[in-house]
């Protein structure tokens, strides 16, 4: 089965760029733009890697992790992506269960490396 990546990102421009990238890298890609959408898509098929934007139109991206944990649908790994990587938001991401926090825009080579590392 191909490795499945779920992109949760409210900007269609950024989500599209990731879709092109991960498809070219051989991953199966799905994308969601809201907390509600993210939960639904993560529960529709098992997710290997979830890339999580924190500021979503209907709430904080970390809410998704909270709900998925409760329902037993956690992705194998989750990487948070934020615009500002201060230590407070970093801590809240790690506490919520993210494997790491990346500062947007993440250079693609670094992003692909991180994904491989956390799925290994």
């Amino acid at each position: 089965m191909p490795t499945r990546i779920l992109i949760v990102e409210d900007s269609p421009l950024v989500a599209d760029a990731f879709r092109v990238l991960f498809t070219a890298a051989g991953y199966e890609v799905d994308a969601a733009t809201t907390v509600a959408d993210g939960i639904e898509r993560a529960m529709s098929a098992p997710v290997d890697m979830m890339l999580l934007d924190l500021s979503l139109p209907d709430g904080n991206g970390l809410e998704i992790l909270k709900v998925l944990r409760k329902r037993g649908f956690l992705p194998r790994s989750t990487l948070a992506m934020t615009g500002h990587n201060d230590s407070a938001s970093r801590r809240s991401c790690l506490e919520a269960g993210c494997a790491d926090v990346l500062l947007k825009p993440v250079p693609i080579a670094e992003l692909l490396r991180q994904i491989e590392r956390h799925l290994a």
């Binding site: 900007s11 615009g83 693609i108």
Partner: protein, 270 residues
């Protein structure tokens, strides 16, 4: 009308006029504050909104540059690399504006911890090593091994050091020298003075204050050799002042500059 009434009416009238003027001045101040807050919010929103499409542009350009959608010839690759580095430079400038807006507003909070300032200085030195090596500059930490921990917001102090060391590198010519040193002052030697010095082009005395003002560069002409947002030192000043510290410069044109800022050491605890 009695005598005393006649005497009293003129000062009373004057007082009324003054009160009215004071009220009007207060209204103007309130209005200006409200407008300033609005402008700050606007700047913050715009900066944030600029960042998102730019991030998409950079990612697309990187996908092309790295040949993930097929091979490029060398000229095409150079051109696409130009998009990536131009975009990255824009992101850095937007981030600087966002940091400035945050540092200047009331919403910023300090997360203070005890930490080893020399370890932080060494980390920032390492981060700037590549930039310095390009200009054959040395960055040296002069002392500090016996210092007690400072009690401050580590991220913010790192930002201050980054801006000062970055500037020192930028305004020092090839083969120059940048250093970081420490001294203590105050009645209980409880204040740390951090110095970031260089033997670069220096700053004229008339410009000592100007350099800390936002959007100020001593040479603001379009042909100036050093570009940037002109916010680096304004941010440093705001972040130091949030710690109730002070920041200043001593310099001589053609000889170099020494920037100093203070941080609390061993503070009284609650």
């Amino acid at each position: 009308m009695s005598m005393s009434d006649r005497v009293g009416s003129a000062p009373k009238k004057r007082l009324k006029t003054l009160e009215a003027k004071a009220e009007e001045a207060q209204r103007t101040i309130d209005e200006l504050r409200a407008r300033d807050a609005l402008k700050t919010q606007f700047l913050s929103n715009v900066s944030h909104d600029l960042r998102t499409p730019l991030a998409a542009i950079i990612t697309h350009a990187e996908i092309l540059r790295d040949g993930m959608l097929g091979d490029l010839n060398p000229k095409q690759r150079d051109s696409v690399s130009g998009i990536v580095s131009g975009g990255q430079q824009l992101i850095d400038m937007i981030d600087e504006i966002l940091t400035y807006v945050r540092s200047a507003s009331d919403q910023v909070t300090l997360t203070r911890t005890d930490f080893d300032i020399t370890e932080l200085v060494d980390q920032v030195r390492m981060l700037n090593q590549a930039l310095a090596a390009k200009k054959h500059l040395t960055i040296e930490r002069l002392n500090g091994d016996d210092l007690p921990p400072v009690y401050a917001d580590r991220d913010k102090v790192k930002h201050v050091l980054g801006n000062l060391i970055g500037n020192a590198i930028k305004f020092t010519s090839d083969g120059g020298h940048v250093w970081i040193g420490f001294s203590r002052r105050g009645r209980d030697r409880d204040e740390l003075v951090v110095e970031v010095g260089d033997n670069g082009r220096g700053i004229a005395r008339d410009h000592y204050e100007l350099v800390f003002r936002e959007f100020a560069q001593v040479d603001a002409s379009p042909s100036r050799p050093h570009h940037g947002t002109g916010l680096g030192l304004a941010i440093a000043r705001n972040l130091v002042e949030l710690h109730s510290g002070t920041i200043w410069v001593e310099s001589e044109l053609g000889k170099g500059s020494r920037f100093f800022f203070t941080l609390p050491l061993n503070p009284p605890r609650d």
